[in-house]
Symmetry: C2
Subunit: 327 residues, 2 copies
């Protein structure tokens, strides 16, 4: 429900979070993530205000679970130690400290403190497609050195193809002593395939969301993943029928729209950019008479980081100049 | 628009077919399939009446295309030589003669006649997941011997996983002298991944549908496939932006519902059964107090063929008896 928070514009109610958490817990899912879509402290004018405070939602999820651990996401710079302590107070047992793939060093303090608090703690390297494999390995090792118990390859833009996932997980498996996780987005329709490859290469922590309820085209669809693993003969102790029922009867009615792959999410995966860039590119495209897709492709090539939405205007202006010169 | 005909309950209008065909042709797609969802002659009470006769739709598509060849599907037993000739008269240039994966012998006559008519002709082995690889190879060789210029591995139930596709295409590549095709369904969310594997193993004909507009969860999503191939550096002469626009602006408004993976299509892929079985299983489940998913799983194990919907009642009755004995 953390990544899914984006889909509902952070308007989850306490009852919705309770019902989904109860359903996932009952089906045997071991971790359930609850926070604002941009992690602890994300409820702001910039990232979108939550309807219900995330601490209340965390508490509600914890109260609904018999076996599952409730997880939170924390992006240093958005969330702080203050919120981390509060989340732990409310019963969160795992924190994933998330940074851009080249910025692992900003996670040191939060990983240390989470360990001191007695929480399980993972590193979460976002936009993993945008860095060379060696860089990814180097940054994952940093997180390991800070005390992370696992590091995730996070395909935030849904831009990785199966062979690229294979290369990355394999390199981490050869270089790390801790667990490896994989977080997929389905913008290029390969979230499940990428997840299977990650498992094959030794990843042991896998993210999913029921009905693909995550940013862009969503994540690996949990109920589909479990069906596929079951078909492959892997029994991981999760009840497929129960998951399917939660997906259909509880998550479905919460969804403001279906999570098919539309133009916007496809461009996001194709260009390798954050979903927050889409609207800006459309506006700039109109203003400068340039196809927004060309803007996003160029922004992707320049490997823009979240928060660098300004780059879009510069790129649009440059493309417009080139078009004029060309025509 | 042949597989997509199922999604709209065969209610395509002439204008819709024209607009989609024009858009696909303009983007550079080489083949466009138009027929009733169950192939030529499928417009019946049993398979669902078409709003507009398929011959009129074929003619409309042909008139809209500058470079693309219009294809038709023919399932012997539903369609006949009479309809094939008429389709060719209206301008169809390719026919795919479709049989259950173990019944290739019923395609001999239609393949012969299509060749005599000067049409391009392919074999189309449906429910390819349900036969052992050796059987598939044997049946494909039969179609080759009848004069097919290509044979398709058709994953009608969307039940194949990437490794299973690899095994099948590889075996065909080693045994056939003609082209190999692959037709995916996305019920297990691996349509694109399966298609990539098929291409890797030497398939040269690939099916897709814009916005996944096909039975169940739909086919490999054409615009996503082209984006992925482009990202892999394969330029196959199809304009991605044009495709995306047709998907969004022309196909989108035609869709009666989104093509996400819902409970029904997931069960179909998981159990390996035809979508036409779903409603029957739900009815039988209610009548006998059995979970319809268990019925479909057992029907899948027994490898039911299209038309064998009666088996559902038998299975439901047996499961109810077992439940009673067990409880």
């Amino acid at each position: 429900m953390r990544d899914g928070s984006h889909v509902v514009a952070h308007q989850f109610t306490r009852e919705q979070v309770q019902a989904v958490a109860k359903g996932l817990d009952d089906a045997g899912v071991p971790y359930i993530e609850v926070s604002h879509g941009d992690g602890l402290g994300g409820s702001t004018i910039q990232y979108g205000r939550s309807l219900v405070g995330e601490m209340e939602l965390i508490e509600a999820a914890v109260a609904s679970c018999k076996q599952a651990k409730v997880a939170v996401l924390l992006i240093p710079g958005i969330g702080t130690v203050h919120e981390l302590k509060e989340a732990q107070n409310r019963g969160a047992g795992l924190v994933r400290v998330a940074t851009h793939v080249t910025e692992a060093d900003v996670s040191a303090q939060h990983i240390h403190i989470a360990r001191e608090l007695g929480m399980e703690v993972c590193g979460f390297l976002m936009m993993a497609h945008s860095a060379p494999v060696e860089k990814l390995v180097e940054q994952a090792k940093l997180m390991q050195s800070y005390g992370a118990e696992a590091v995730y390859v996070t395909d935030s833009a849904g831009a990785l193809l199966p062979d690229q996932v294979r290369e990355r997980i394999r390199a981490l498996r050869q270089s790390l002593d801790i667990e490896i996780g994989f977080h997929a987005h389905n913008n290029l329709s390969v979230a499940i395939a990428n997840t299977l490859v990650a498992l094959e290469e030794g990843a042991t922590r896998i993210d999913g969301s029921l009905r693909c309820l995550g940013a862009g085209a969503g994540n690996a669809q949990t109920e589909v993943l479990i069906a596929v693993l079951d078909r492959m003969g892997m029994d991981i102790g999760i009840d497929l029928y129960k998951l399917m029922d939660v997906a259909e009867e509880i998550v479905g009615p919460i969804m403001p729209h279906s999570q098919e792959i539309r133009k916007g999410s496809l461009v996001m995966g194709y260009a390798g950019v954050y979903s927050s860039f889409l609207l800006h590119a459309e506006r700039a495209g109109k203003r400068f008479g340039v196809d927004p897709r060309d803007i996003l492709l160029e922004v992707g090539r320049r490997k823009a980081v979240g928060g660098q939405e300004d780059m879009i205007i510069d790129v649009a202006a440059e493309l417009a100049k080139l078009q004029k010169a060309g025509g």
